[in-house]
Symmetry: C2
Subunit: 359 residues, 2 copies
C-alpha cells in the first residue's frame, strides 16, 4: 500500500485537521463529533442543506460546504456511514428558521443513520425533510445498498438545491426540487484499477492488467461486468447507453453532462472521455447545455470515471449557474444579473452555455 | 498501460477537442496550430500573459486561460515543448496594446522555442518580454534542463501576474513582478509511482513497492534520492526543509503554501500532507496566509505530491485574492472591495485568510 499517510487509522481525522488548516477561514470544522459547517451557520431566512457519508470520496461532502451549496456536511470513517450523533450535531449547527433538508446517498447505513438523526433533531423542534439519492443505473441492489446506489448525481443535486435554498425557497419547495432532480439524473461508473482502504491495507478487489469493471460503485462494489480493456470511445458508450435508456433521455433534451474522475485518473483522460460522451449525445440529438469535468466524487485512488446526465429546465440552469463558493466547487460573478429573483450576488448565465453543442 | 484513451498518438488532440466542448463557451480553442486564448482576446488596455509547455500537466496551462490569469496558453505534445509557430500564434492572439509577457518554465526546449517565437512576434511589431521560472530546488541540472526546473511556482506566478495585468499595470511592472515572484518561490516534489506517456507505453521509470523518489520532476525526471517509503509527516519534512533552507525562509515570514497532487493521489492524502506542512511551518514561526491544495500541475497519473512555498507581501496577497475565472482555477467575489486600485470586480480579501496559523 503506497499512500501519503501516517497512521492508517488516523487518515480521516488528520485529513479533517488538514482541511481545517486549509479552509478554516471559510468553513467551521468541528472535530468531536466530526462535521463541517458554513462559517456563518446557522444562516437565517434559508432552508439548511445537510449531507454527508463515508470519507474517501473527497471533495465530497465536506468540500461542498459554503455559500450556494451545503450548510453542513458529515464525514464518516473511510467508506463508512457517519454516526447518528454526527449527523444530529451537523443538523443542529446548520438549522436556522426554515428547517433542514437532508440529502442522503442511498446506502443502507447512511439512510438509517440520517433517519435516526432526523428523529433526534425533530424531537428538539427542528423540522427535517429527507431526500434519498439513487442515481446509479448499474445495478439494482449492491453491497451496502437496497435499491440503486447514490453516486455522481449527488454533486449536481447538492449544487442546484443549495442555490435554491439560498434564493429563499421554503422547505417544501427545496425538498420537492431535490426529489424532482433525483428523478431526472442518472449515472454509471467504471474502474481501471481498484482502491485500497488504508486500514484494510489490501485492494478492495483485483483486476487483471487487461481488465476493467463496468458499473463499479464508489466503494469498489461489483458492477455489471468485467471486460477486456477498451478504447475511451467504447467505454463512454458502455456507460452512456444504459443511462440514456433508463430515464429515458430523448432527442431534443437539454442536459448537464458530468464526467467525473474516480481519483487516480488524470484530467487529460477525462477530457478524452468527455469528448466521446459529447459526440454520442450529439448523435442522439441531445444538447449539452451545462457541464462538469473533474474529480468531484472519488473512490480514493481508483483509476476510472463515471458519467452522469441530468435533464435540465430553465430554473435548473439558473440554479446551476448561480455563484458557489466552497473548497471543492467555486465560481463567481462577472456580469449583471438577469434572474427571476433578487440575488445577493451577480451571475452571468450565458457564460456557461456551450456553443459547440448548440450549433 | 491502462488508460482512458483511444489512439495513444491522438490523446493531446482529442483532449483539446474535449476541452473545447467543455469550455468553448468560456475560451477560444485553436487547433492548427494548437493554442487556447481568452474568449475576448485580445483585451485592450492590459498586458497579455502567455504561457505554455508540454501536455500531461493538466489543468496547466490551457486550464488557466481566462479573466484574471492567462490570455493564451500553448499545449505541446505530451511532455514535449510547444513549437515556435504555436507560441507565435498564441502570442499574436493574445497581444493587444500593452505588449506580451511570456511565462516560461525552465526546460531547454521551452526556453528556445518561446525565444524564437518572441523574435518572430517582435518582427511583426509586438513587444514581448519573457520571464523564465525555475523554482524546483531538488536538482541543479536535469534531463531537459540547464539549471533548475520550473514546477509548482508556475501556477502561483500565472495567477498573481495575471491579476497584475488585469489591474492595468504596464509591461515593465508586470515583467518585474514575475521576476520578483520567481525569486520568492521554491518547490520540491516526490513520487510514489511513475507515469506512462501513452505513445511510449512504458513507465518513465521503475519504483519498487516500498520505494519513493524524492525530488522528482514533473516528467518523471530523476530527483535527489530513492528511499524506502516513509510517513506523510516525514515526507513533508523531506520536501520542506530544502525549500526553507534555499531561499531562505525565516521566522516571521508570511507565505502561500501550495500542496500539489501529481495526478494520481487522492485529495484526502494531500490534506494529510498539507496538515504536516502547516505544522512544520508553524514550528519555524512561518505564517501560512494563503493556500492552494489539489491537482494543479500534474504528471499524468503519477502518484505523489509537491510542496511550493511563496513569500508574500501585501500586494501579492491582494493579487492572489483577486477573482479568477478559468477552467482550472476559479473563485469569485462576495463582498465589497478594499483595494488600492479600482477593479471591475469585487473581492473579499479576508475570506482567504487562515485563522489557524494566524492565532
Amino acid at each position: 500500500m503506497k499512500k501519503l499517510i501516517n497512521d492508517p487509522d488516523q487518515v480521516v481525522a488528520e485529513a479533517l485537521e488538514g482541511f481545517e488548516m486549509a479552509y478554516g477561514g471559510r468553513v467551521h470544522v468541528n472535530h468531536d463529533p466530526a462535521f463541517v459547517a458554513r462559517k456563518d451557520a446557522p444562516v437565517q431566512g434559508k432552508v439548511a442543506i445537510v449531507s454527508g457519508g463515508g470519507s474517501g470520496h473527497e471533495p465530497m461532502h465536506p468540500g461542498y460546504v459554503g455559500p450556494g451549496m451545503l450548510d453542513a456536511a458529515v464525514p464518516g470513517q473511510m467508506f463508512t456511514s457517519p454516526t447518528p450523533d454526527q449527523v444530529e450535531a451537523a443538523t443542529k449547527a446548520g438549522a436556522a428558521d426554515k428547517g433542514v433538508l437532508h440529502l442522503v446517498k442511498n446506502y443502507t447505513g447512511d439512510v438509517a443513520n440520517f433517519e435516526m438523526a432526523a428523529e433526534l433533531a425533530e424531537a428538539e423542534g427542528i423540522e427535517v425533510r429527507s431526500v434519498v439519492i439513487d442515481d446509479d443505473v448499474a445495478v439494482k441492489d449492491s453491497l451496502f445498498t437496497a435499491g440503486r446506489r447514490g453516486v455522481g448525481g449527488t454533486v449536481l443535486i447538492e449544487k442546484i438545491v443549495g442555490a435554491c435554498a439560498d434564493r429563499g425557497d421554503d422547505l417544501e419547495a427545496v425538498t420537492n426540487l431535490a426529489a424532482t432532480l433525483n428523478g431526472r439524473v442518472r449515472s454509471m461508473g467504471m474502474a481501471l484499477t481498484p482502491c485500497t482502504v488504508p486500514s484494510a491495507g489490501e485492494p478492495t478487489f483485483e483486476l487483471a492488467d487487461n481488465e476493467m469493471e463496468i458499473g463499479i460503485g464508489i466503494h469498489g462494489e461489483p458492477g455489471r461486468e468485467r471486460l477486456p480493456l477498451e478504447s475511451a470511445d467504447q467505454i463512454a458508450e458502455r456507460l452512456l447507453n444504459p443511462i440514456l435508456e433508463d430515464l429515458p433521455f430523448r432527442s431534443g433534451d437539454e442536459v448537464l453532462l458530468f464526467v467525473n474522475g474516480m481519483g487516480g485518473t488524470p484530467m487529460i483522460e477525462l477530457l478524452v472521455v468527455y469528448r466521446a460522451a459529447c459526440r454520442l449525445l450529439s448523435e442522439h440529438g441531445i444538447t449539452v447545455q451545462r457541464d462538469l469535468v473533474g474529480n468531484y466524487i472519488t473512490a480514493l485512488e481508483m483509476a476510472g470515471c463515471s458519467i452522469t446526465l441530468l435533464k435540465l429546465d430553465e430554473d435548473t440552469k439558473w440554479l446551476w449557474d448561480a455563484p458557489v463558493d466552497t473548497p471543492g466547487l467555486s465560481w463567481g460573478a462577472w456580469e449583471p444579473p438577469n434572474l427571476p429573483w433578487t440575488p445577493q450576488w451577480q451571475v452571468n448565465t450565458s457564460r456557461r452555455t456551450l456553443p459547440w453543442t448548440a450549433t
